[in-house]
Symmetry: C2
Subunit: 150 residues, 2 copies
């Protein structure tokens, strides 16, 4: 069984995400964006720590799933899980970092169909992390599941 993100996979449900200062700035079906401030995520060089960059990108999967799938209705009893993720660091991250990810309508429809028919819908979500100048500082690829729980 995979790691459980939790039904309320937003910032408020995990104290350490709140401590990072992560702020969800946009969330809609198939789309999520969050900001990560420098403090308290920087090392003494003023560069944002790898684990905080990973976190702001990873949590988009849960946030997006909650806004995209009907966990109070047809997918009641399902939860979003993360199975695996990879992060690639491109350049030092300075200042506020914005993470964004989206899932196409076709993918959303397929995941929903798979979840309803098999109890498990898997999807791959790519997130891009950019600095205030729009430069890509890191990219992630995560494998998530919407899965019947318990």
């Amino acid at each position: 069984m995979a790691y459980t993100l939790g039904v309320e996979a937003g910032v408020g449900s995990v104290p350490i995400l709140e401590a990072m200062g992560i702020r969800v700035v946009e969330v809609a079906p198939g789309r999520a964006i969050a900001d990560l401030p420098p403090e308290p995520n920087v090392n003494h060089f003023g560069v944002t720590y790898a684990g905080s960059l990973y976190s702001v990108a990873e949590m988009l999967g849960g946030v997006l799933a909650l806004a995209t799938f009907d966990f109070d209705g047809e997918l009641a009893g399902f939860v979003p899980l993360v199975k695996e993720s990879t992060i690639r660091f491109r350049r030092p991250a300075l200042g506020v970092v914005r993470a964004s990810a989206s899932l196409s309508d076709d993918e959303v429809a397929r995941v929903r169909r798979d979840a309803l028919s098999t109890g498990k819908g898997e999807f791959v979500l790519e997130a891009t992390l950019t600095d205030a100048g729009g430069e890509v500082v890191a990219t992630t690829v995560g494998t998530y599941q919407v899965r019947r729980f318990g």
Copy 2:
């Protein structure tokens, strides 16, 4: 250029790692172990958040590098960097999670040789995350570099 871990890549140099309660329990040339407590890293199900699991594993690369390579001597001016990492979640993480990683003497010697001769020594570090019962909750594979800086 890759993300900079920082010369003092230990817990104390990054406030958010300290906020996670990460504790380095063993560090020696080629070897590092750290513990991650549940609070404040759990979601409301009591399961440790993915980003905290990632962080305790990732930071071993910096801690290990600092204990393994002579950044005050022959590798003065070099820093450890992380280029990329992958985490795979095996089961929900409950309680204190221990992350451990090691690098063989041969690998250490090769990285040192490469760094001295080319200005860059790259290594792949696998970390294992276990719960108090010794069950593997996650594994990571990170690509790091010891690199001449600036």
